[in-house]
Amino acid sequence: MTTPLLAIDGITKTYPGVVANSDVSFDIGRGEIHALLGENGAGKSTLVKAIYGLVRPDSGAMRWQGRPYAPAAPHEARAAGVAMVFQHFSLFDALDVAENVALGMDNPPPLRRLAAQIRTVSRDYGLPLDPGQLVGDLSAGQRQRVEIIRCLLQDPQLLIMDEPTSVLTPQEVEILFRTLRQLRAEGRSILYISHKLEEIRGLCDKATVLRLGKVVGRCDPRQKTARELAEMMVGTKLHQPERPAHAPGEVLLEVKALSLRSPSPFGTSLKEVSVAVHAGEILGIGGVAGNGQDELLAALSGELRAPPGAVSVRGESVGHMGPNVRRALGLLCAPEERLGHAAAPEMSLTENALLTGAWRQKLVNRGFIDWTRARGFAEAVIRRFDVRTPGPHVVARALSGGNLQKFVIGREILQRPEVLVVNQPTWGVDAAAAAAIRQALMDLAEGGAAVVVISQDLDELLEIADSFAALNAGRLTAKRPVRGLTLDQVGLMLGGADEAGDAAA
């Protein structure tokens, strides 16, 4: 048998109170795309950080091409030939592509030579990218290419990719996969972390499944169905969201010719956005990140103010009102960024429950906080949405991404909104939690609320939404019923072609 590229043997890592990895062993062969599967909190990140030299395991050993391998820092891992593309990009908006690439390298060449190298690599691997472009102007997919090219310039033997497709359009995913397959053909290996089981089945040669820090399964993902993979991951039967048909009710949320300048120089201004959402309806808003999603959410939540009539709830104009007036009227929102926007990282869950629940849940009496009620509300959210945490006294940043997301969405849903707007409700959330969140959104619509789901995950939108519209460069297409919508039409809508969709209908 040939020596594997990387052999992981009995890695264990404990944090106070949690066993992140327990006796994890597996091999990554040369020229292999190896999937690492697991729910949030299963220990994937810790394991990957150990390989990349960000975390030192308590016990266990790794062998790199047969030799002992224990990187104490990422630069040692890079020197060995390991590169990593993180889920959250570490790029500077105000610098151009070449400068950003240089910043992430241990020994960057002069910028002009680097730019030439970037052009070569981007051509060789089919990742179109202009080294002189400002990163602030790039789409999420292009930003990811910056990270990938930064890695490829180091000529890695092993490329680690953490949830690479969560921000990409179907077309961008295709391009990425072509590149990854090309890398495999060159004999390089890829450790691929994703929740999207269909992708893993289409791309990967081997899969290692983690649950609660332990390896619970190894398989060839091409031989398994997505459902089987998901069940290995979760350890139980999966609950599929269900959605009975229904008739739409009155208009609860109406947006009329909403135009808004983005306060950020790298944001997207909203242009003449108009849409009406009925009681019982779930409107899915698709689009690639950076096309005005954040601005739309801010304009609906009240963080950005618009002319009074631009946004109305049950016919009442609220465009010029602040967030709390809108909350009182029943318009609630859950932003995409969990830490720092939807929740304050250093505050306890009780304090975070107060963040949006203060008025509607009557947690405040003439300006004075009723901490007992606030704790009760936080506990109710934790219980009802199965948030895994020791209790409401825990600070938000101590929760895993999926658990915090359940808390943030649950906090809004438990307040019985008339209109709920969520941005990327299941981004970076594991399959079980994502299903639970989707089901909760559907139950809410079932109960007569209007729900707006802004997401880049088309599968998610087509699964739960009744109607679909796309954001493109700050413009929203007319909404169309999801039933009968083809993927081609969706693609055209994402490209901003409103009329094309009408012609096809």
Partner: protein
């Protein structure tokens, strides 16, 4: 190799332990400093921390001084702490303190020598207003033109000092003072003086105001929505906007509140312990209060303890100055070291230190 590992939660125990540890380290480093100056370090430390309270020679005089000095420090620090929690950095309390004192003194001098129960309350209002108005300059510049409040408030201290000098030698100069700079003695003007409420304790109206401010701040920070919004804005500005907090309103509120309290401290000082407007009326309470606020963990109760401790170093420092001939600056260095050690040790409440070997574990 030493490694810092981020704690999943900030450690509550270290939050309490670091101020105590910082005081300990300051004593050690200060002792070394005093030894380098050729003084007996143990005698100097004892003189600073022990003698003001317990020495039969000094205690009778210095014990009441404890409240006299701690009063303004606590009053200013409480106001600053609320702003600091919101991420609004008022570094110019010293200037607001001066302007508050000038405004309060102006009321007193305008009524001199008429009697009247209403004069002192009017002075209090004028003092608070003066400090508030001086703090509104950085507040408005920040909300309108997005200037940096740290710079603006700090530089306004020097403007205030110039105004103070101009007043002491010009408009406010004592007409019966034979041309010497400095105003009339306000403490000797019964309707305007801020004297000890209970003789021999050092307790004057400024101390009362400080304790009221402490209670008010505690309730606001821990029980009231406004305090919650203040902390939210400091920790997660985007989340604060999402929660409906208007950032510019918070800037005006926090700067205004801390300015008003600093102005009050100035007024109580000029009408009491300092007795009059003079060129060097201000002694740096506005700056020392920054140390007090941080040493007290930006917590009202902590600030009371920190204020008393800093007052002790002031008094003890004076004793050490004339008993051992320590230079005045060495006491300021001593106070600065306290803040330095505190901020450095603060790392421990968010990170744990790990020893790790270079090879594989």
């Amino acid at each position: 190799m030493l490694r810092l590992e981020k704690r999943p939660q900030p450690s509550a125990a270290w939050g309490w332990a670091t101020p105590v540890l910082a005081v300990g380290l300051t004593m050690i480093a200060g002792g070394i400093l005093f030894a380098a100056l050729g003084k007996d370090p143990f005698a100097a430390i004892k003189m600073i921390f022990w003698d003001p309270l317990f020495s039969p020679q000094f205690a009778a005089f210095s014990r009441p001084q404890l409240l006299v000095k701690a009063g303004p420090l606590i009053l200013i620090a409480v106001g600053l702490a609320i702003g600091f929690r919101a991420g609004i950095w008022n570094i110019g309390a010293e200037g607001q303190y001066i302007i508050g004192a000038i405004c309060g003194a102006a009321v007193a001098l305008a009524f001199f020598p008429a009697p009247g129960w209403y004069i002192f309350p009017l002075m209090v209002i004028a003092g608070a207003f003066g400090g508030w108005a001086w703090a509104m300059i950085p507040a408005i510049l920040k909300t309108r033109f997005n200037t940096n409040e740290i710079l603006v408030s700090l530089l306004l201290v020097y403007v205030a000092e110039k105004i103070l000098a101009a007043m002491a030698t010009g408009r406010m100069r004592n007409p019966d003072g034979a041309g010497f700079p400095g105003s009339r003695n306000i403490a000797q003007y019964p309707a305007a003086s801020n004297l000890e409420i209970i003789a021999g304790t050092g307790m004057h109206w400024g101390v009362v105001a400080a304790f009221i401010a402490v209670i008010f701040a505690y309730v606001m920070l821990h029980r009231h929505m406004l305090g919650y919004h203040v902390q939210l804005a400091g920790q997660a500005p985007r989340a604060a906007r999402f929660a409906g907090v208007a950032p510019s309103r918070l800037v005006v509120l926090c700067l205004g509140f801390s300015g008003a309290l600093a102005g009050l401290a100035g007024l109580f000082e000029v009408a009491g312990p300092a007795r009059m407007i003079s060129i060097d009326f201000n002694v740096g309470y506005g700056f020392t209060a920054i140390i007090v606020a941080f040493l007290g963990r930006l917590h009202p109760v902590g600030i009371v303890l920190a204020g008393l401790l800093m007052a002790l170093t002031y008094i003890g420092g004076e004793i050490a100055q004339f008993m051992l001939g320590l230079p005045a600056a060495s006491i300021q260095v001593f106070q600065g070291m306290l803040l330095f050690f505190l901020l450095a040790l603060d790392v421990l409440s968010n990170y744990r230190v790990r020893l790790s070997r270079a090879e594989a574990a």
